[in-house]
Symmetry: C2
Subunit: 306 residues, 2 copies
Protein backbone atom coordinates (compact mmCIF):
# COMPACT_ATOMS: atom_id res chain seq x y z
CA UNK A 1 0.00 0.00 0.00
CA UNK A 2 1.28 3.44 -1.00
CA UNK A 3 1.08 5.18 2.37
CA UNK A 4 2.95 2.45 4.24
CA UNK A 5 5.71 2.36 1.62
CA UNK A 6 6.01 6.14 1.91
CA UNK A 7 6.18 6.07 5.71
CA UNK A 8 8.73 3.22 5.64
CA UNK A 9 10.96 5.33 3.37
CA UNK A 10 10.48 8.44 5.53
CA UNK A 11 11.56 6.50 8.61
CA UNK A 12 14.48 4.73 6.93
CA UNK A 13 15.86 8.00 5.48
CA UNK A 14 14.88 9.97 8.63
CA UNK A 15 13.62 12.63 6.27
CA UNK A 16 10.21 14.29 5.79
CA UNK A 17 11.38 16.29 2.78
CA UNK A 18 10.78 15.48 -0.85
CA UNK A 19 12.43 16.93 -3.92
CA UNK A 20 10.25 18.51 -6.58
CA UNK A 21 11.68 17.81 -10.02
CA UNK A 22 10.77 21.05 -11.82
CA UNK A 23 13.34 21.38 -14.62
CA UNK A 24 12.57 24.99 -15.40
CA UNK A 25 14.68 26.34 -18.28
CA UNK A 26 16.14 29.10 -16.11
CA UNK A 27 17.81 26.66 -13.72
CA UNK A 28 19.29 24.18 -16.18
CA UNK A 29 23.07 24.25 -15.65
CA UNK A 30 25.02 25.49 -18.66
CA UNK A 31 27.20 22.36 -18.62
CA UNK A 32 24.17 20.07 -19.02
CA UNK A 33 22.71 22.35 -21.68
CA UNK A 34 26.00 22.24 -23.62
CA UNK A 35 26.55 18.49 -23.19
CA UNK A 36 23.11 17.37 -24.35
CA UNK A 37 22.00 20.12 -26.74
CA UNK A 38 21.52 18.55 -30.17
CA UNK A 39 21.01 20.98 -33.02
CA UNK A 40 20.35 18.15 -35.49
CA UNK A 41 16.92 17.41 -34.00
CA UNK A 42 13.82 19.50 -33.18
CA UNK A 43 14.27 21.79 -30.18
CA UNK A 44 11.61 19.92 -28.18
CA UNK A 45 13.50 16.64 -28.67
CA UNK A 46 16.79 18.22 -27.62
CA UNK A 47 15.14 19.85 -24.58
CA UNK A 48 13.50 16.56 -23.60
CA UNK A 49 16.92 14.96 -23.52
CA UNK A 50 18.42 17.87 -21.55
CA UNK A 51 15.75 17.85 -18.84
CA UNK A 52 15.99 14.07 -18.52
CA UNK A 53 19.73 14.31 -17.86
CA UNK A 54 19.28 17.23 -15.47
CA UNK A 55 16.64 15.26 -13.51
CA UNK A 56 18.80 12.10 -13.54
CA UNK A 57 21.74 13.99 -12.07
CA UNK A 58 19.51 15.25 -9.24
CA UNK A 59 18.18 11.74 -8.58
CA UNK A 60 21.71 10.28 -8.54
CA UNK A 61 22.67 12.79 -5.88
CA UNK A 62 19.66 12.61 -3.55
CA UNK A 63 18.13 9.11 -3.88
CA UNK A 64 19.88 7.76 -0.76
CA UNK A 65 18.85 10.64 1.53
CA UNK A 66 15.28 11.58 0.52
CA UNK A 67 12.21 9.33 0.59
CA UNK A 68 10.45 10.59 -2.48
CA UNK A 69 10.50 12.86 -5.53
CA UNK A 70 7.65 14.86 -7.03
CA UNK A 71 8.22 15.46 -10.75
CA UNK A 72 6.06 18.33 -12.06
CA UNK A 73 4.72 17.18 -15.43
CA UNK A 74 4.13 20.71 -16.79
CA UNK A 75 7.88 21.26 -17.27
CA UNK A 76 8.02 18.05 -19.31
CA UNK A 77 4.69 18.44 -21.14
CA UNK A 78 6.06 21.79 -22.31
CA UNK A 79 8.12 19.79 -24.83
CA UNK A 80 5.23 17.63 -26.03
CA UNK A 81 5.78 13.96 -26.77
CA UNK A 82 9.56 14.30 -26.29
CA UNK A 83 8.98 15.87 -22.88
CA UNK A 84 6.57 13.11 -21.86
CA UNK A 85 9.13 10.53 -22.96
CA UNK A 86 11.63 12.24 -20.63
CA UNK A 87 9.00 12.28 -17.84
CA UNK A 88 8.42 8.55 -18.25
CA UNK A 89 12.16 7.91 -18.15
CA UNK A 90 12.63 10.10 -15.06
CA UNK A 91 9.85 8.27 -13.18
CA UNK A 92 11.21 4.88 -14.22
CA UNK A 93 14.76 5.79 -13.24
CA UNK A 94 13.69 7.15 -9.85
CA UNK A 95 11.75 4.00 -9.04
CA UNK A 96 14.75 1.86 -10.05
CA UNK A 97 16.72 3.87 -7.49
CA UNK A 98 14.18 2.98 -4.79
CA UNK A 99 12.49 6.38 -4.59
CA UNK A 100 8.75 6.85 -4.15
CA UNK A 101 7.41 8.89 -7.09
CA UNK A 102 4.49 11.31 -6.77
CA UNK A 103 3.62 12.70 -10.20
CA UNK A 104 2.37 16.26 -9.81
CA UNK A 105 -0.22 16.31 -12.59
CA UNK A 106 -3.30 17.95 -10.96
CA UNK A 107 -5.63 16.15 -13.37
CA UNK A 108 -9.39 16.36 -12.97
CA UNK A 109 -12.11 15.18 -15.33
CA UNK A 110 -15.23 13.01 -15.36
CA UNK A 111 -16.31 9.46 -16.10
CA UNK A 112 -14.36 7.56 -18.74
CA UNK A 113 -12.01 10.54 -19.18
CA UNK A 114 -10.94 10.46 -15.53
CA UNK A 115 -10.57 6.69 -15.88
CA UNK A 116 -8.22 7.17 -18.86
CA UNK A 117 -5.97 9.41 -16.75
CA UNK A 118 -6.21 7.03 -13.80
CA UNK A 119 -5.32 3.98 -15.90
CA UNK A 120 -2.22 5.69 -17.22
CA UNK A 121 -0.89 7.04 -13.92
CA UNK A 122 -2.20 4.53 -11.38
CA UNK A 123 -3.02 1.51 -13.52
CA UNK A 124 -1.35 -1.85 -13.85
CA UNK A 125 -1.80 -2.17 -17.59
CA UNK A 126 1.06 -2.56 -20.05
CA UNK A 127 0.39 1.01 -21.22
CA UNK A 128 0.56 2.53 -17.70
CA UNK A 129 3.44 4.68 -16.46
CA UNK A 130 2.54 3.46 -12.94
CA UNK A 131 3.96 6.02 -10.56
CA UNK A 132 3.22 5.61 -6.84
CA UNK A 133 0.80 8.51 -6.47
CA UNK A 134 -0.49 11.61 -8.25
CA UNK A 135 -2.07 14.96 -7.37
CA UNK A 136 -5.67 15.62 -8.49
CA UNK A 137 -7.99 18.64 -8.63
CA UNK A 138 -11.39 18.36 -6.85
CA UNK A 139 -13.38 21.12 -8.63
CA UNK A 140 -15.49 18.58 -10.56
CA UNK A 141 -16.59 16.77 -7.39
CA UNK A 142 -16.68 13.28 -5.99
CA UNK A 143 -17.48 11.34 -9.15
CA UNK A 144 -14.38 12.86 -10.78
CA UNK A 145 -12.21 11.50 -7.94
CA UNK A 146 -13.66 7.98 -7.83
CA UNK A 147 -11.85 6.51 -10.88
CA UNK A 148 -8.57 7.46 -9.18
CA UNK A 149 -9.62 6.03 -5.81
CA UNK A 150 -10.54 2.72 -7.46
CA UNK A 151 -7.02 2.33 -8.87
CA UNK A 152 -5.51 3.39 -5.53
CA UNK A 153 -7.37 0.62 -3.75
CA UNK A 154 -6.88 -2.02 -6.45
CA UNK A 155 -3.23 -1.31 -7.19
CA UNK A 156 -1.87 0.00 -3.88
CA UNK A 157 -1.40 3.55 -5.19
CA UNK A 158 -1.88 6.98 -3.61
CA UNK A 159 -3.61 10.30 -4.27
CA UNK A 160 -3.05 13.82 -3.01
CA UNK A 161 -6.18 15.89 -3.57
CA UNK A 162 -5.77 19.70 -3.74
CA UNK A 163 -7.27 21.18 -0.59
CA UNK A 164 -5.56 24.52 0.06
CA UNK A 165 -2.89 25.47 -2.46
CA UNK A 166 0.16 27.60 -1.67
CA UNK A 167 -0.56 30.53 -4.03
CA UNK A 168 -2.06 33.86 -3.06
CA UNK A 169 -5.18 33.52 -5.22
CA UNK A 170 -6.00 30.17 -3.61
CA UNK A 171 -8.40 32.28 -1.52
CA UNK A 172 -10.52 33.15 -4.59
CA UNK A 173 -12.39 29.82 -4.46
CA UNK A 174 -10.86 27.72 -1.68
CA UNK A 175 -11.50 30.17 1.20
CA UNK A 176 -15.13 30.97 0.37
CA UNK A 177 -17.46 30.20 3.27
CA UNK A 178 -20.59 28.15 2.54
CA UNK A 179 -22.92 27.27 5.43
CA UNK A 180 -20.13 28.01 7.90
CA UNK A 181 -17.52 25.89 6.10
CA UNK A 182 -14.76 26.99 3.80
CA UNK A 183 -14.60 25.31 0.39
CA UNK A 184 -11.27 23.69 1.31
CA UNK A 185 -12.94 22.22 4.42
CA UNK A 186 -15.67 20.78 2.19
CA UNK A 187 -12.93 19.15 0.10
CA UNK A 188 -11.39 17.86 3.36
CA UNK A 189 -14.71 16.23 4.27
CA UNK A 190 -14.72 14.52 0.88
CA UNK A 191 -11.21 13.16 1.56
CA UNK A 192 -12.12 12.00 5.08
CA UNK A 193 -15.08 10.15 3.55
CA UNK A 194 -12.73 8.23 1.27
CA UNK A 195 -9.96 7.35 3.70
CA UNK A 196 -11.43 4.14 5.11
CA UNK A 197 -10.96 2.56 1.67
CA UNK A 198 -7.21 2.84 1.85
CA UNK A 199 -6.11 2.87 5.49
CA UNK A 200 -2.56 1.62 6.09
CA UNK A 201 -0.97 -0.18 9.02
CA UNK A 202 0.42 3.09 10.44
CA UNK A 203 -3.04 4.64 10.78
CA UNK A 204 -2.75 6.90 7.73
CA UNK A 205 -4.73 6.76 4.51
CA UNK A 206 -3.34 6.55 0.96
CA UNK A 207 -5.78 9.32 0.00
CA UNK A 208 -3.87 12.44 1.03
CA UNK A 209 -4.25 16.20 0.75
CA UNK A 210 -2.22 19.06 -0.71
CA UNK A 211 -2.00 21.83 1.92
CA UNK A 212 0.26 24.79 1.13
CA UNK A 213 3.01 25.52 3.64
CA UNK A 214 2.45 29.22 3.10
CA UNK A 215 -0.79 28.95 5.12
CA UNK A 216 0.43 28.17 8.64
CA UNK A 217 -2.87 28.65 10.45
CA UNK A 218 -4.95 26.78 7.90
CA UNK A 219 -2.42 23.93 7.97
CA UNK A 220 -2.65 23.62 11.75
CA UNK A 221 -6.44 23.72 11.56
CA UNK A 222 -6.52 21.06 8.83
CA UNK A 223 -4.13 18.91 10.88
CA UNK A 224 -6.68 18.86 13.71
CA UNK A 225 -9.67 17.89 11.58
CA UNK A 226 -7.82 15.45 9.26
CA UNK A 227 -5.88 13.33 11.74
CA UNK A 228 -5.30 10.35 9.48
CA UNK A 229 -4.65 12.22 6.23
CA UNK A 230 -1.09 12.64 4.97
CA UNK A 231 -0.33 16.17 3.78
CA UNK A 232 1.78 17.00 0.77
CA UNK A 233 3.07 20.48 1.61
CA UNK A 234 4.38 22.75 -1.17
CA UNK A 235 5.59 26.30 -0.63
CA UNK A 236 8.81 25.79 1.34
CA UNK A 237 11.66 28.14 0.45
CA UNK A 238 11.14 30.21 -2.70
CA UNK A 239 7.38 30.60 -2.01
CA UNK A 240 7.99 31.75 1.56
CA UNK A 241 7.22 28.93 4.02
CA UNK A 242 9.92 28.44 6.70
CA UNK A 243 10.66 25.32 8.78
CA UNK A 244 9.29 27.08 11.85
CA UNK A 245 5.90 27.44 10.11
CA UNK A 246 5.59 23.74 9.44
CA UNK A 247 5.70 21.79 12.73
CA UNK A 248 1.94 22.28 13.06
CA UNK A 249 1.38 20.33 9.82
CA UNK A 250 2.61 17.17 11.62
CA UNK A 251 0.83 14.96 14.15
CA UNK A 252 2.27 14.20 17.61
CA UNK A 253 3.61 10.88 16.25
CA UNK A 254 6.06 12.91 14.14
CA UNK A 255 4.32 11.86 10.93
CA UNK A 256 1.57 13.26 8.73
CA UNK A 257 3.36 15.58 6.29
CA UNK A 258 5.91 15.58 3.51
CA UNK A 259 7.49 18.93 2.73
CA UNK A 260 8.36 19.67 -0.88
CA UNK A 261 11.10 21.88 -2.21
CA UNK A 262 11.70 22.24 -5.93
CA UNK A 263 13.66 25.32 -6.89
CA UNK A 264 15.34 25.45 -3.47
CA UNK A 265 17.09 22.16 -4.34
CA UNK A 266 17.45 22.20 -8.15
CA UNK A 267 18.45 25.86 -8.19
CA UNK A 268 20.59 25.75 -5.03
CA UNK A 269 23.79 26.13 -7.08
CA UNK A 270 22.60 29.60 -8.10
CA UNK A 271 22.01 30.78 -4.53
CA UNK A 272 24.39 32.74 -2.34
CA UNK A 273 24.63 29.92 0.21
CA UNK A 274 25.85 27.20 -2.19
CA UNK A 275 27.36 29.37 -4.91
CA UNK A 276 30.80 27.77 -5.04
CA UNK A 277 29.41 24.26 -5.34
CA UNK A 278 28.56 22.20 -8.41
CA UNK A 279 24.91 21.74 -9.42
CA UNK A 280 24.92 18.22 -7.94
CA UNK A 281 26.72 19.05 -4.69
CA UNK A 282 24.62 22.14 -4.06
CA UNK A 283 21.40 20.13 -4.58
CA UNK A 284 22.53 17.39 -2.20
CA UNK A 285 23.68 19.82 0.46
CA UNK A 286 20.47 21.88 0.16
CA UNK A 287 18.46 18.67 0.58
CA UNK A 288 20.48 17.73 3.68
CA UNK A 289 20.12 21.21 5.17
CA UNK A 290 16.38 21.19 4.56
CA UNK A 291 16.03 17.74 6.14
CA UNK A 292 17.93 18.93 9.21
CA UNK A 293 15.95 22.16 9.51
CA UNK A 294 12.62 20.33 9.50
CA UNK A 295 13.86 17.62 11.87
CA UNK A 296 15.16 20.27 14.26
CA UNK A 297 11.75 21.96 14.37
CA UNK A 298 10.04 18.64 15.01
CA UNK A 299 12.56 17.80 17.72
CA UNK A 300 11.82 21.13 19.41
CA UNK A 301 8.11 20.36 19.50
CA UNK A 302 8.62 16.74 20.58
CA UNK A 303 7.17 15.28 17.40
CA UNK A 304 9.68 12.51 16.72
CA UNK A 305 8.90 9.54 14.46
CA UNK A 306 12.14 7.59 15.03
Amino acid sequence: MFIDKLIDRIISTKNHCIVGIDPHEEIIPKRIMDDYCDLSVAKSESMGNIIFHMSKEIIDNIYDIVPCIKPQIAFFEKYGSHGIKAFENVCYYAKEKGLIVIADVKRGDIGSTAKAYSDYYLGNKDTSISVDAITVNPYLGKDSIEPFVINCVDNGKGLFILVKTSNKSSSDIQDRICDGKRIYEIVSDLIIGLEEKSMGKNGYSSIGAVVGGTHKEEGEHMRKIMGRTYFLVPGFGAQGAKASDLAGFFNDDGLGAIINSSRGILGAYKSEKYKNQSFADAARNAAIDMRDEINKELYKTGKIAW
Copy 2:
Protein backbone atom coordinates in the same frame (compact mmCIF):
# COMPACT_ATOMS: atom_id res chain seq x y z
CA MET B 1 -8.33 36.70 -32.51
CA PHE B 2 -9.65 33.30 -31.47
CA ILE B 3 -13.29 34.19 -30.85
CA ASP B 4 -13.73 35.94 -34.20
CA LYS B 5 -12.14 33.03 -36.07
CA LEU B 6 -14.49 30.66 -34.25
CA ILE B 7 -17.59 32.75 -35.02
CA ASP B 8 -16.54 33.11 -38.69
CA ARG B 9 -16.31 29.30 -38.95
CA ILE B 10 -19.66 28.86 -37.16
CA ILE B 11 -21.34 31.20 -39.62
CA SER B 12 -19.65 29.79 -42.72
CA THR B 13 -20.52 26.19 -41.78
CA LYS B 14 -23.95 27.26 -40.37
CA ASN B 15 -23.19 24.95 -37.48
CA HIS B 16 -22.97 25.49 -33.71
CA CYS B 17 -21.86 21.90 -33.08
CA ILE B 18 -18.34 20.70 -32.45
CA VAL B 19 -16.98 17.18 -32.49
CA GLY B 20 -15.22 15.86 -29.40
CA ILE B 21 -12.34 13.60 -30.42
CA ASP B 22 -12.44 11.05 -27.58
CA PRO B 23 -10.89 7.89 -29.03
CA HIS B 24 -12.06 5.60 -26.26
CA GLU B 25 -10.92 2.00 -26.76
CA GLU B 26 -14.49 0.71 -26.73
CA ILE B 27 -15.47 2.66 -29.84
CA ILE B 28 -12.43 2.05 -32.03
CA PRO B 29 -13.72 0.26 -35.16
CA LYS B 30 -12.39 -3.28 -35.56
CA ARG B 31 -11.20 -2.47 -39.10
CA ILE B 32 -8.95 0.37 -37.86
CA MET B 33 -7.72 -1.75 -34.96
CA ASP B 34 -6.80 -4.56 -37.40
CA ASP B 35 -5.23 -2.27 -40.01
CA TYR B 36 -2.93 -0.37 -37.64
CA CYS B 37 -2.22 -2.82 -34.83
CA ASP B 38 1.52 -3.52 -34.78
CA LEU B 39 2.61 -6.37 -32.55
CA SER B 40 6.29 -5.62 -33.20
CA VAL B 41 6.23 -2.45 -31.06
CA ALA B 42 5.09 -1.62 -27.50
CA LYS B 43 1.31 -1.61 -27.07
CA SER B 44 1.27 2.12 -26.29
CA GLU B 45 3.05 2.87 -29.59
CA SER B 46 0.63 0.70 -31.53
CA MET B 47 -2.37 2.27 -29.77
CA GLY B 48 -1.03 5.78 -30.43
CA ASN B 49 -0.98 4.97 -34.13
CA ILE B 50 -4.46 3.43 -34.03
CA ILE B 51 -6.09 6.42 -32.30
CA PHE B 52 -4.35 8.83 -34.67
CA HIS B 53 -5.82 7.03 -37.67
CA MET B 54 -9.25 6.81 -36.05
CA SER B 55 -9.19 10.56 -35.32
CA LYS B 56 -7.93 11.34 -38.84
CA GLU B 57 -10.79 9.39 -40.39
CA ILE B 58 -13.28 11.41 -38.32
CA ILE B 59 -11.63 14.68 -39.31
CA ASP B 60 -11.64 13.71 -43.02
CA ASN B 61 -15.37 13.11 -42.81
CA ILE B 62 -16.52 16.18 -40.85
CA TYR B 63 -14.02 19.01 -41.52
CA ASP B 64 -16.19 20.64 -44.19
CA ILE B 65 -19.37 20.69 -42.09
CA VAL B 66 -18.30 21.47 -38.51
CA PRO B 67 -16.48 24.59 -37.29
CA CYS B 68 -14.29 23.01 -34.67
CA ILE B 69 -13.06 19.86 -32.95
CA LYS B 70 -12.31 19.30 -29.27
CA PRO B 71 -9.74 16.54 -28.80
CA GLN B 72 -9.75 15.18 -25.24
CA ILE B 73 -6.10 14.73 -24.25
CA ALA B 74 -6.80 12.06 -21.57
CA PHE B 75 -7.51 9.44 -24.24
CA PHE B 76 -4.13 10.23 -25.83
CA GLU B 77 -2.15 10.76 -22.62
CA LYS B 78 -3.31 7.26 -21.66
CA TYR B 79 -0.62 5.98 -24.07
CA GLY B 80 2.15 8.22 -22.73
CA SER B 81 4.63 9.80 -25.13
CA HIS B 82 3.23 7.83 -28.07
CA GLY B 83 -0.26 9.06 -27.25
CA ILE B 84 0.92 12.67 -27.01
CA LYS B 85 2.66 12.28 -30.37
CA ALA B 86 -0.71 11.15 -31.80
CA PHE B 87 -2.41 14.12 -30.09
CA GLU B 88 0.07 16.54 -31.65
CA ASN B 89 -0.48 14.97 -35.06
CA VAL B 90 -4.28 15.09 -34.71
CA CYS B 91 -4.21 18.79 -33.77
CA TYR B 92 -1.82 19.59 -36.63
CA TYR B 93 -3.89 17.65 -39.16
CA ALA B 94 -7.16 19.28 -38.04
CA LYS B 95 -5.66 22.76 -38.34
CA GLU B 96 -4.35 21.91 -41.82
CA LYS B 97 -7.93 21.02 -42.73
CA GLY B 98 -9.10 24.46 -41.59
CA LEU B 99 -10.74 23.36 -38.35
CA ILE B 100 -10.54 25.35 -35.12
CA VAL B 101 -8.96 23.14 -32.42
CA ILE B 102 -9.91 23.38 -28.74
CA ALA B 103 -7.68 21.06 -26.70
CA ASP B 104 -9.66 19.73 -23.76
CA VAL B 105 -6.87 19.54 -21.18
CA LYS B 106 -8.44 21.11 -18.03
CA ARG B 107 -5.00 22.13 -16.75
CA GLY B 108 -4.62 24.26 -13.66
CA ASP B 109 -1.48 25.18 -11.72
CA ILE B 110 0.38 28.20 -10.41
CA GLY B 111 3.17 30.58 -11.40
CA SER B 112 5.89 29.23 -13.64
CA THR B 113 4.14 25.84 -13.78
CA ALA B 114 0.99 27.37 -15.29
CA LYS B 115 3.25 29.33 -17.65
CA ALA B 116 4.89 26.08 -18.82
CA TYR B 117 1.47 24.63 -19.72
CA SER B 118 0.43 27.91 -21.31
CA ASP B 119 3.58 28.16 -23.42
CA TYR B 120 3.07 24.67 -24.77
CA TYR B 121 -0.63 24.95 -25.62
CA LEU B 122 -1.07 28.65 -26.39
CA GLY B 123 2.49 29.80 -27.06
CA ASN B 124 4.24 30.82 -30.25
CA LYS B 125 7.55 29.15 -29.46
CA ASP B 126 9.13 26.47 -31.61
CA THR B 127 8.31 23.95 -28.87
CA SER B 128 4.58 24.88 -28.72
CA ILE B 129 1.78 22.68 -30.06
CA SER B 130 -0.22 25.89 -30.57
CA VAL B 131 -3.84 24.85 -30.67
CA ASP B 132 -6.49 27.60 -30.89
CA ALA B 133 -7.85 27.29 -27.36
CA ILE B 134 -7.80 25.06 -24.28
CA THR B 135 -9.98 24.32 -21.27
CA VAL B 136 -8.66 25.24 -17.79
CA ASN B 137 -9.69 24.52 -14.18
CA PRO B 138 -10.24 27.54 -11.88
CA TYR B 139 -9.87 25.88 -8.43
CA LEU B 140 -6.48 27.55 -7.82
CA GLY B 141 -7.86 31.04 -8.46
CA LYS B 142 -7.07 34.07 -10.56
CA ASP B 143 -3.27 33.95 -10.50
CA SER B 144 -3.43 30.40 -11.90
CA ILE B 145 -5.47 31.66 -14.88
CA GLU B 146 -3.34 34.71 -15.69
CA PRO B 147 -0.45 32.94 -17.49
CA PHE B 148 -3.05 31.52 -19.89
CA VAL B 149 -4.79 34.87 -20.37
CA ILE B 150 -1.45 36.52 -21.25
CA ASN B 151 -0.86 34.07 -24.10
CA CYS B 152 -4.48 34.45 -25.26
CA VAL B 153 -4.02 38.19 -25.58
CA ASP B 154 -0.50 38.07 -27.04
CA ASN B 155 -1.07 35.22 -29.50
CA GLY B 156 -4.76 35.51 -30.38
CA LYS B 157 -5.72 32.32 -28.56
CA GLY B 158 -8.76 31.31 -26.50
CA LEU B 159 -9.65 29.80 -23.12
CA PHE B 160 -12.71 28.01 -21.79
CA ILE B 161 -12.70 28.10 -17.99
CA LEU B 162 -14.70 25.40 -16.18
CA VAL B 163 -17.75 27.06 -14.63
CA LYS B 164 -20.45 24.40 -14.24
CA THR B 165 -19.49 20.95 -15.50
CA SER B 166 -21.95 18.41 -16.90
CA ASN B 167 -21.46 15.64 -14.31
CA LYS B 168 -23.74 14.91 -11.37
CA SER B 169 -21.12 15.61 -8.67
CA SER B 170 -20.43 19.05 -10.14
CA SER B 171 -22.77 20.20 -7.35
CA ASP B 172 -20.28 19.08 -4.63
CA ILE B 173 -18.18 22.25 -5.02
CA GLN B 174 -19.64 24.29 -7.87
CA ASP B 175 -23.17 24.72 -6.45
CA ARG B 176 -22.15 25.71 -2.92
CA ILE B 177 -23.59 29.07 -1.92
CA CYS B 178 -21.24 31.67 -0.40
CA ASP B 179 -22.63 35.08 0.53
CA GLY B 180 -25.63 34.50 -1.72
CA LYS B 181 -23.57 33.40 -4.73
CA ARG B 182 -22.86 29.93 -5.99
CA ILE B 183 -19.22 28.99 -6.52
CA TYR B 184 -19.79 28.72 -10.28
CA GLU B 185 -21.16 32.29 -10.24
CA ILE B 186 -17.99 33.41 -8.46
CA VAL B 187 -16.00 31.78 -11.28
CA SER B 188 -18.28 33.57 -13.78
CA ASP B 189 -17.42 36.89 -12.13
CA LEU B 190 -13.75 36.07 -12.55
CA ILE B 191 -14.30 35.41 -16.27
CA ILE B 192 -16.35 38.59 -16.74
CA GLY B 193 -13.48 40.51 -15.13
CA LEU B 194 -11.08 39.15 -17.75
CA GLU B 195 -13.17 39.59 -20.87
CA GLU B 196 -12.26 43.18 -21.73
CA LYS B 197 -8.71 41.98 -22.43
CA SER B 198 -9.82 39.86 -25.36
CA MET B 199 -13.03 41.29 -26.80
CA GLY B 200 -13.60 40.48 -30.49
CA LYS B 201 -15.35 42.39 -33.26
CA ASN B 202 -18.56 40.40 -32.77
CA GLY B 203 -18.93 41.49 -29.15
CA TYR B 204 -17.74 38.21 -27.63
CA SER B 205 -14.63 37.55 -25.59
CA SER B 206 -11.92 34.95 -26.27
CA ILE B 207 -12.12 33.99 -22.58
CA GLY B 208 -15.06 31.60 -22.56
CA ALA B 209 -16.79 29.28 -20.09
CA VAL B 210 -17.60 25.57 -19.90
CA VAL B 211 -21.27 25.20 -18.96
CA GLY B 212 -22.73 21.68 -19.01
CA GLY B 213 -25.76 21.15 -21.24
CA THR B 214 -27.20 18.83 -18.61
CA HIS B 215 -27.99 21.89 -16.44
CA LYS B 216 -30.72 23.70 -18.43
CA GLU B 217 -31.73 26.20 -15.76
CA GLU B 218 -28.19 27.06 -14.74
CA GLY B 219 -27.25 27.51 -18.42
CA GLU B 220 -30.10 29.96 -18.98
CA HIS B 221 -29.20 31.83 -15.81
CA MET B 222 -25.51 32.01 -16.81
CA ARG B 223 -26.54 33.22 -20.29
CA LYS B 224 -28.26 36.21 -18.68
CA ILE B 225 -25.35 37.24 -16.47
CA MET B 226 -22.53 36.45 -18.96
CA GLY B 227 -23.82 38.14 -22.11
CA ARG B 228 -20.48 38.41 -23.88
CA THR B 229 -19.00 35.07 -22.86
CA TYR B 230 -18.96 32.17 -25.32
CA PHE B 231 -20.09 28.88 -23.77
CA LEU B 232 -18.53 25.53 -24.55
CA VAL B 233 -21.38 23.13 -23.77
CA PRO B 234 -20.64 19.44 -23.13
CA GLY B 235 -23.26 16.88 -22.19
CA PHE B 236 -25.29 16.55 -25.42
CA GLY B 237 -26.47 13.04 -26.28
CA ALA B 238 -24.92 10.27 -24.19
CA GLN B 239 -24.89 12.43 -21.03
CA GLY B 240 -28.54 13.39 -21.43
CA ALA B 241 -28.83 16.96 -22.80
CA LYS B 242 -31.33 17.32 -25.66
CA ALA B 243 -31.48 20.03 -28.35
CA SER B 244 -34.65 21.39 -26.75
CA ASP B 245 -32.68 22.03 -23.52
CA LEU B 246 -30.06 24.14 -25.23
CA ALA B 247 -31.71 27.14 -26.94
CA GLY B 248 -31.43 29.05 -23.67
CA PHE B 249 -27.63 28.76 -23.79
CA PHE B 250 -27.63 31.08 -26.85
CA ASN B 251 -28.12 34.84 -27.04
CA ASP B 252 -30.81 36.47 -29.19
CA ASP B 253 -28.20 37.05 -31.93
CA GLY B 254 -28.12 33.27 -32.43
CA LEU B 255 -24.58 33.08 -31.11
CA GLY B 256 -22.92 32.45 -27.73
CA ALA B 257 -22.59 28.68 -27.51
CA ILE B 258 -20.88 25.72 -29.13
CA ILE B 259 -22.40 22.34 -28.41
CA ASN B 260 -20.06 19.37 -28.13
CA SER B 261 -20.77 15.76 -28.91
CA SER B 262 -18.06 13.12 -28.61
CA ARG B 263 -19.38 9.59 -28.31
CA GLY B 264 -22.60 10.53 -30.15
CA ILE B 265 -20.48 11.16 -33.26
CA LEU B 266 -17.49 8.79 -32.94
CA GLY B 267 -19.67 5.94 -31.67
CA ALA B 268 -22.64 6.62 -33.99
CA TYR B 269 -21.87 3.49 -36.07
CA LYS B 270 -22.66 1.40 -32.98
CA SER B 271 -26.08 2.98 -32.41
CA GLU B 272 -29.44 1.69 -33.59
CA LYS B 273 -30.04 4.76 -35.77
CA TYR B 274 -26.88 4.45 -37.90
CA LYS B 275 -26.16 0.76 -37.46
CA ASN B 276 -25.94 -0.20 -41.14
CA GLN B 277 -23.48 2.60 -41.94
CA SER B 278 -19.69 2.63 -41.92
CA PHE B 279 -17.82 4.32 -39.06
CA ALA B 280 -17.12 7.36 -41.26
CA ASP B 281 -20.61 7.68 -42.79
CA ALA B 282 -22.33 7.24 -39.42
CA ALA B 283 -20.13 9.95 -37.87
CA ARG B 284 -20.81 12.39 -40.70
CA ASN B 285 -24.54 11.73 -40.68
CA ALA B 286 -24.72 12.02 -36.89
CA ALA B 287 -22.89 15.36 -37.11
CA ILE B 288 -25.34 16.59 -39.79
CA ASP B 289 -28.35 15.43 -37.78
CA MET B 290 -27.04 17.14 -34.64
CA ARG B 291 -26.37 20.37 -36.55
CA ASP B 292 -29.92 20.32 -37.93
CA GLU B 293 -31.49 19.55 -34.55
CA ILE B 294 -29.76 22.49 -32.87
CA ASN B 295 -30.49 24.85 -35.78
CA LYS B 296 -34.17 23.82 -35.73
CA GLU B 297 -34.43 24.68 -32.03
CA LEU B 298 -32.78 28.05 -32.59
CA TYR B 299 -35.07 28.72 -35.55
CA LYS B 300 -38.10 27.98 -33.37
CA THR B 301 -36.96 30.53 -30.79
CA GLY B 302 -35.99 33.14 -33.41
CA LYS B 303 -32.28 33.03 -32.52
CA ILE B 304 -30.78 33.04 -36.01
CA ALA B 305 -27.16 34.02 -36.67
CA TRP B 306 -27.24 33.82 -40.51
